[in-house]
Amino acid sequence: MLEAIRQALFEEMERDPAVVLLGEDVGVYGGAFKVTAGLLERFGWERVIDTPISETAIVGAAVGMSYLGLRPVAEMQFIDFIACCFNQLTNFVAKSHYRWGAPVPMVVRGPSGGGVHGGPFHSANPEMYFVHTPGLKVVYPSTAYDAKGLLKSAIRDNNPVLFFEHKFLYRRVKEELPSGDYTVPLGKAVVRREGRDLTMVSYAAMMHTSMEAAEVLAKEGIEAEVIDLRTLLPLDRETLLASVKKTNKILVVHEDTRTGGIAGEIAALVCEGAFEDLDGPVLRVTSLDTPVPYSPPLEERFLPDVQRVAAAARDLARY
């Protein structure tokens, strides 16, 4: 997936000279995960900018750049550090077009998620702070194909887009990508697996966990439909409701912590839009409500795994 992201950046910077990169170590070092390796050499220091260690400065500068006609892609070295520029993102990036008629066509991207023994400051899933912020778009792909196509769409979108890259998937998800230019539209979920007994909704690393669980369940005669959200804001209501109308049961799986995770939002949406199609409660499997543990066995217990997902799906299917 990492290579797919790098390709997207490369191709967009080739296509549009307004696209610039900025962030900590993105230039000379090539990025903490080597996502931006080679780009400085290709496009020069005016378009690949190594910044001081200040996320506020990174995002603030990106806002200024967008006002002047550039299309910046700002990197958070670890998405956890996005907390440092919360004010810039929520009060300037998100409200600029609404308040001053000044669009901010920028992308903020970075490695997020856990499962790599990164501890509480390098494993966060902070997407919901920004799903809660009107004016932003939030994208979180699970496959290499989607990562490339969605990042291109994000860069081309005139709205500010937060692009989360699950670091666990960086080197574990690989596929043969089509040559040539392609994009994946923002705001559309996709049905990864068709089923009739229940719907599992997920995104990022948990999408793969859900697919594995679906295989386990299939052996027991339970056919799960698996939906990959891909974009968290705006949520693809239509795809979700259509699936609930079909299977009548829905289970949300996310790596984000339980309270305030997107499962609650989805449950409310489903009640509003498809209550009379529900043959069971909306259930969720999520991480525990704690900071991400550093200790490997604790982190394992913290994260949802195939067993827990399959057990919840089983209970729901049999309800």
Partner: protein, 473 residues
Amino acid sequence: MPVDVLMPQMGESIFEGTITKWLKKPGDKVERDEPLFEISTDKVDAEIPAPSAGVLKEIKVAEGQTVPIQTVVAVIDAAGAAAATAPAAAPARTEAPQAAAPPTPPPAPSAAPATAAQASQRVAVAPASAPVAAAGAPAMPRRDGQRIHSSPLVRRLAREHNIDLAELRGTGAGGRISKKDILAAIAAGGSRPAAPPPAPTFAPPAVAPAPAPPAVPAAVPGAPGTVVHVTLENAVPRERIYFGRYEVQPMTVMRQRIAEHMVVSKRVSPHVYSVDEVDMTRIVQLRDRTKNEFEKRFDTKLTFTPFFVRACVEGLRAFPTVNASADGTNVVLHKEINVGIAVALDWGLIVPVIKSADEKNFLGLQRAINDLAERARSKKLKPEEVQEGTFAITNPGVFGGLMGLPVINQPNVAILGLGAIQKRPVVIEDAIAIRSMLYITMSYDHRVVDGAVSHQFLQKVKKALENWSENIL
């Protein structure tokens, strides 16, 4: 090997039960003591555990049906020779809140299913076993029209196809009607009018149970005593009862049971009455002095009842024939001292039992009394809590009367009645003093208890009360 699951007897005067919900369906694995089905009787609602481990083979009595006690309601295919000894934890049920495990009677009764020939069925609950929901757990909806467990989808489909959900048997979790069930019903019959034609596969909606004549528990073969068959008789021809303006009120099932019990008790036990009076001044003063501190410290109300129970326990220890039952020509002397406390309810009367009252301290007695009374009024007593009493106390004085002459609570041989505590002038050492006095009466079964014993018993109780010296704080 097949094991019969029987409708248990929830109380001494309860002779039938209604199945409100099957918690398992045929084909399900059950563990011994795992909750298997729920019943409702006029005294208690209860969850009934499976008598053995195995697979539920067949359900013979559907939800909503009322059957006599001892009726075989289901059959379990028990695995192997005997049921497992250690009851496994029941699977977590997310719907109902789980109450704490109930207190067990000291010798844990065997969990083997009683044969139909036994007069009383023991419903066992293993000590450290699977969670048992409180009797009458409010979270479980009844199937008698109050609430039918389904889902929004099922209700919509039922509405669209004009199907009455009360007719359907549910195969979803906890017996709810699932999408599968409603789709099957639609496929089977299509849209139908709301009035349900009777169909053998559907459980009939349970209405208020029609009064059925109570089942006669079979006589124990070879035992000396027999059971009295009860029907309520009239003393005069019917025409003499109906005249002028009147309103007919059918008896509730509980009322019928009470009526039958009273008739039988009077018929079987020759009632004789002893009366004595007790100077309660000491206790009244003690209670006034310590009431607030007691309630503050122990968070439970301080009443007079534990004093009486204590005093009775002394009497029962001294006179074991008062703590007995009659079985034909045998006198059964109970080693347990289980004191029943009569509780008046809006809809009748019930006698919850304090088990091993002789082994509880004052605070334990008070707590047990308050707890049982409260749960009696909210219909949350467990079946074992209205069984196995060996003596009873009733308090007609609470409603003002000087004294009452109660009917013995079968199969006890005596019952103590307490009058109102009133200040009266009494003679003490040739002087007149104003004291708080109480009349105690004892109704006793003259087959087993003689006057001498009865009066001596009362004297013991009186002395225990008048000379109360225990510190209750």
